[in-house]
């Protein structure tokens, strides 16, 4: 707490406090407790108010963002028949306008069963809702198919056995160029679209796994291949949504991603899927037909376990693709430059420093304020008036005062009659001091000085004159009665 800016306040209030305590001690004692309590409350405010403001700001921002952000779990999210902001009807219309057939399915099983033909696009706007047992089949529904997954969580990526990991997530979707991080984007759709709002959730290969994966939009869109089909994972739903499809290159990117084949199987899930109904050989089999199903789908190739060898086989990196598919965030070499104990030492020293801070932060009672007295410097009005004279260049009045004072001293001390004329007085003074009468007359009655220097000379000369005639206050004090000796009350 800085005492300096507060100084004038105690200056003024201090005598009040003192006086009150002197006049009525009980009053000040009674009022002391609330004052202390109030001060403590204010001190508490000092911490609570900024922190509270920040907390409120964070909460408001978080709530607003949560409300504003579309939730993939809600019904109608990116549905081709939903014309709301969250829906995908505009995307479906655009696709139809380009001659792409849009088939909507509300169950993964049906969609996988129906989509047996070659060359189609499987669009999964909310992969988190797909039942985990379907996930291994989701990534490769058929030959030469393209699967587009929107913002799949890590659980889905693991379930679908995709060699990808969700890494960083941004606060909101950002519109960037397809090759924003310097890695060229081999997807022609992305290149055509230009900047699009595709960067929300970043994906990368997990460390150690190196796959033939293409990165676009700084990792916001990745493409990887499973056997003959390709899987496109995009972290942001913004390019597909009705409310943002018209922005930037969103529409071109969305229609490009979904329009590579002439058929789109649109998996429109309204909520978490129920598990597949039937057991076969004691384990769940998603492909067993339900009673109301018209047809069956049984593809031995897509049985469980098939994916893994394929997946392992893919781990052989093609030479020359190393740099392109390098991990996006390599380990900082600084970590390896020092032995581990060094970092541990630093950490422990930091902890020790924290202890020192905690130790020194606790003060031994609050500082005590001194009720400062009122201080008025002596003669401040006189000196201030002198400075005012100087600023106003009041040569005339200043000289007049000086001459009047000198005259007063001369007449009072040496018996010169007070009603003596100027000439008479000058002659008397001149006779006593041995100076010329004209000089003394000029000094006492001359013209007013015109400059600072003339005034100073005049003041000095008058002082000399008074001293020469023995009336200087310094040598003999004829004027002292005026200051020191009490004048008696016999004036009555």
């Amino acid at each position: 707490m800085s005492a300096v800016p507060d100084a004038p306040v105690p200056d003024v209030s201090a005598p009040d406090d003192d006086r009150r305590s002197g006049a009525d001690a009980s009053t000040s004692v009674r009022s002391a407790a609330p004052v202390v309590a109030g001060r403590r409350r204010r001190r508490w405010h000092r911490i609570a108010i900024p922190l509270g403001a920040v907390a409120v700001l964070l909460a408001v921002t978080g709530i607003t963002q949560a409300i504003d952000q579309p939730s993939p779990g809600s019904a109608g999210f990116l549905s081709p028949v939903n014309a709301d902001d969250e829906g995908g009807s505009r995307l479906a219309d655009r696709l139809r306008a380009e001659g792409v057939a849009v088939e909507r399915f509300t169950s993964t099983r049906q969609a996988l069963i129906q989509a047996t033909s070659r060359g189609f696009t499987l669009f999964v706007p909310s992969p988190g809702l797909v039942h985990p047992l379907y996930l291994p089949y989701l990534a490769e529904p058929a030959d030469r198919a393209r699967v587009v997954l929107v913002d799949p969580p890590q659980r889905v990526l693991d379930g679908a056995e995709l060699p990808l990991a969700a890494t960083g997530r941004r606060w909101a979707a950002g519109a960037v160029d397809a090759d924003a991080d310097g890695r060229p984007c081999p997807l022609p759709e992305a290149a055509r679209a230009g900047p699009a709002a595709a960067l929300l959730q970043r994906y990368a290969n997990p460390p150690g796994l190196d796959n033939r994966t293409d990165y676009c939009y700084s990792g916001g869109l990745v493409r990887t291949e499973r056997r003959d089909s390709e899987v496109v994972v995009i972290g942001a739903s913004d390019p597909f949504r009705n409310d943002r499809i018209a922005e930037r290159g969103n529409a071109v990117l969305a229609t490009g991603l979904l329009g590579s084949h002439d058929r789109v199987v649109w998996l429109d899930l309204a909520g978490p899927e129920p598990p597949p109904p039937y057991h076969r050989n004691g384990e769940l089999d998603p492909w067993t037909s339900m009673p109301d199903d018209s047809g069956t789908y049984d593809d031995g190739e897509s049985q469980e376990g098939n994916g893994t060898p394929e997946y392992d086989g893919r781990q052989q990196p093609a030479p020359g693709q190393d740099e392109q598919a390098a991990p996006p965030e390599p380990r900082n070499p600084l970590w390896d430059a020092f032995p581990p104990w060094f970092w541990a030492l630093l950490a422990q020293l930091a902890l020790a420093l924290l202890l020192v801070v905690l130790w020194r932060a606790r003060r031994l009672g609050p500082p005590v304020a001194e009720p400062l007295p009122v201080t008025v410097p002596s003669a401040e009005t006189v000196l201030g008036r002198g400075r005012l004279y100087q600023r106003a260049r009041a040569y005339g009045p200043a000289a007049e005062t000086l001459r009047a004072a000198a005259l007063h001293r001369l007449t009072q001390s040496r018996g010169v009659p007070p009603d003596a004329g100027p000439d008479e007085l000058a002659a008397a003074v001149a006779a006593r001091t041995g100076r010329g009468a004209a000089e003394v007359h000029d000094l006492l009655y001359g013209p007013a000085p015109e400059t600072n220097q003339e005034l100073l000379d005049l003041a000095r000369a008058l002082d000399d004159l008074a001293a020469a005639s023995g009336t200087s206050l310094g040598t003999s004090p004829p004027d002292q009665p005026r200051h020191d000796r009490p004048s008696e009350g016999d004036a009555r």
Binding site: R19, G365, P377, E380, A398
Partner: protein, 436 residues
């Protein structure tokens, strides 16, 4: 926690290169230090179970040293090792005066006395503000400290005015005795109040022969007079803005208090009744003289906390108060400043009312800076202007004095160190002349 815990952790950090698993070492050592600290904290005597009280001096003269002690009573079951801070306002000049200060060790159930020596640097009430206790554990790794545990025992030390002019008192009392006539016969008869008749002896003033009484008796009788007794002296202290002006190192008010004390001491010894008023825009202190023996002590005690205020003095109020309180003719000694603005507009309009009822003395501390300015030859241009302003201020002051004198007011204008003797001299002179 304390610095010791931090040192322990820091020293432990230096052994980390020897650990097979450094991060584990960090965890282990931090855990150990934390556990020890918590243990130490638990073992520290709780400050809430320590009782505190105070005793010692209540008042001290400015410049002297007082002793006030804090008593700590450890009612907990654990020994108390504590750092104590007894915070007074800085001008109280308090410091602990016991071996090992400011740390203290009190066994369970024991009491300890912690004396503080206070050498105040300012007049007035100097309060003790806060007693803080920091209770350490046996290892010195952690401490307990809570505000107002134990609660601060209140104490206020009243610092009395220095009353430097009391050295003048013996001389003034001697002069008073001369006037009273108890020491030198020559002094008898200077009063105006009839005392006794006695036979004429050679050397008596023939003017004091009472011819009528002599005619009734065969002897020549002379009247003897004594100075008036049981007069009233009212000291009025102006505590307004002009009294805050620093003359030398202390405010004008302090010089006025000093002079008022000397005057009160003398007047009470002379058998007069002394009243005191301190007024600015309200009555700050009003004291009516009581028993002579306790008057001075009461005055000193009452005037000790008096401080100047930055307000314009209400002379109307002063006059009203004096006229209301003093029915009999009194000597009113007004301690103020000879300032044309304050006196010209405040005092002069009410002075006639006051002067017709009472004998008024205006006592003022005059500013040594003005004398200095008007006696020293000017050296710079600024000096020349300042000298001019100073002469003008002196001229204004003379006009105020003249105006006051027209109303029959005695003006005492003296430097701070000579004000008290001069005011008492004036009082003695008036008393000797029987003009009280």
């Amino acid at each position: 926690m304390t610095g010791r815990a931090a040192i322990l952790l820091g020293a432990g950090a230096l052994t980390l290169p020897l650990w097979p698993a450094p991060w584990l070492g960090v965890l282990v050592m931090s855990g150990v230090v934390l556990a020890l600290t918590v243990l130490d904290w638990l073992l520290a005597a709780p400050p809430g179970e320590v009782g505190a009280s105070r005793d010692g001096d209540r008042a001290v003269r400015l410049g002297d040293t007082a002793t006030v002690s804090v008593h700590l009573h450890n009612t907990s079951v654990r020994p108390l090792r504590a750092l104590v801070r007894d915070a007074w306002v800085p001008s109280a000049g308090a410091r602990f005066d016991f071996p090992g200060a400011p740390t203290v060790r009190v066994e369970p159930g024991d009491r300890v006395e912690l004396p503080s020596r206070l050498t105040p640097t300012r007049r007035g009430d100097r309060p003790a503000v806060r007693l803080t206790l920091r209770s350490y554990g046996p290892l010195g790794l952690a401490f307990r400290q809570r505000a107002e545990r134990p609660s601060t025992p209140p104490w206020t030390l009243r610092v009395l005015p220095r009353f430097e002019s009391r050295r003048h008192l013996p001389e003034k009392l001697a002069r008073l005795r001369i006037i009273d006539g108890t020491e030198v016969a020559r002094g008898r008869g200077q009063g105006t109040e009839f005392d006794t008749l006695r036979e004429y002896v050679v050397g008596d003033d023939v003017r004091s022969v009472d011819w009528r009484a002599s005619a009734r008796r065969a002897d020549v009788l002379v009247r003897t007079w004594r100075p008036e007794r049981d007069r009233r002296v009212v000291c009025v202290l102006d505590t307004g803005r002009t009294s805050a002006v620093r003359v030398g190192d202390e405010p004008r008010l302090d010089a006025a208090i000093d002079a008022a004390l000397l005057l009160a001491a003398l007047a009470s010894r002379a058998g007069d009744r002394v009243d005191l008023l301190a007024v600015d825009n309200a009555v700050r202190v009003a004291l009516t003289g009581g028993a002579q023996s306790t008057l001075l002590a009461r005055l000193v005690d009452t005037l000790a906390p008096l401080q100047p205020a930055l307000v314009e003095t209400d002379f109307e109020l002063i006059a009203g108060e004096i006229l209301r309180r003093e029915r009999r003719r009194s000597v009113v000694v007004l301690f103020t400043a000879l300032e044309p603005g304050a006196l010209g507009e405040g005092l002069l309009p009410v002075l006639p009312r006051l002067a017709t009822r009472h004998r008024v003395i205006v006592a003022s501390v005059h500013d040594p800076v003005l004398t200095d300015l008007t006696t020293r030859p000017p050296e710079t241009v600024q000096d020349a202007y300042a000298v001019s302003a100073a002469w003008r201020a002196l001229g204004d002051r003379d006009r105020v004095r003249a105006a006051l004198a027209r109303h029959g007011v005695t003006v005492v204008d003296a430097p701070a160190d000579r004000l008290a003797p001069m005011v008492t001299d004036t009082y003695l002179r008036l008393k000797a002349l029987g003009q009280l």
